[in-house]
């Protein structure tokens, strides 16, 4: 899993039927540097399914692979959903993050 900031969404009309009705969001994963500088992530972009009604600006936890399909299934309560062709999903919306850097940067001046 990884920590990410929601930055947008994608929509489509032509899609695999099993994916119909799923909201797809664009998220940027946090790097160590982003957390250290307490800034929003600016690199990389991942598309993930959202069943928790997250919005732009929310921090979220993303799961990959089978866990992503399990999460979608748990929230929607549909046993067929594990066959949905996704491999990334929001599994939690973040309230708070506490970070303690492992190696403090050298003090300046």
């Amino acid at each position: 899993m990884f920590l990410a900031r929601v930055v947008g969404s994608v929509w489509s009309t032509v899609k695999w039927p099993e994916i119909g009705g799923l909201k797809l969001l664009l998220v940027r994963p946090y790097s160590l540097e982003d957390l250290a500088k307490e800034r929003a992530p600016e690199k990389d972009l991942v598309v993930c399914a959202d069943v928790l009604d997250a919005g732009v600006g929310d921090d979220v936890v993303i799961a990959y692979g089978h866990a992503a399909r399990v999460a979608v299934s748990q929230v929607l309560g549909e046993s067929e959903r594990p066959n949905v062709p996704i491999d990334a999903a929001i599994v939690a919306v973040v309230d708070r993050v506490q970070v303690t850097l492992p190696e403090k940067p050298p003090e300046r001046g």
């Binding site: 899993m1 990884f2 920590l3 994963p29 946090y30 790097s31 160590l32 540097e33 957390l35 069943v51 928790l52 009604d53 936890v61 799961a63 990959y64 692979g65 089978h66 866990a67 992503a68 399990v70 999460a71 748990q74 929230v75 599994v91 939690a92 919306v93 973040v94 309230d95 708070r96 993050v97 506490q98 970070v99 303690t100 850097l101 492992p102 190696e103």
Partner: protein, 89 residues
């Protein structure tokens, strides 16, 4: 698996039911002696402390940390702290 230091914790309220009650920690990925800059979120059942060096298992390996056995396909886990590292040589 990856290894690295625990650098923090994540608190959530709105989440998939399978994550309820799970402690989530942030782990900075280490390669050789350097941190790569990547950070992962892992379920922690070993009570890892901030600053402690751990390994994180992914995929079905993570499910086997949470619920060992063949019938754990419905367990929601794709990353879990699997080892608290004491040392290496």
């Amino acid at each position: 698996m990856i290894r690295g230091p625990v650098i923090g914790e994540v608190w959530t309220t709105r989440k998939a039911p399978g994550l309820s009650g799970r402690k989530l920690v942030l782990v900075a990925v280490r390669a050789d002696s350097q941190l790569t800059g990547r950070v992962v979120v892992a379920i922690d059942t070993l009570d890892a402390r901030t600053g402690e060096e751990v390994t994180v298992s992914f995929g079905s390996g993570a499910r086997n940390v949470i619920a060992p056995g063949p019938d754990n396909r419905e367990v929601l886990a794709d990353a879990a702290v699997s080892v608290l590292v004491d040392g290496e040589e």
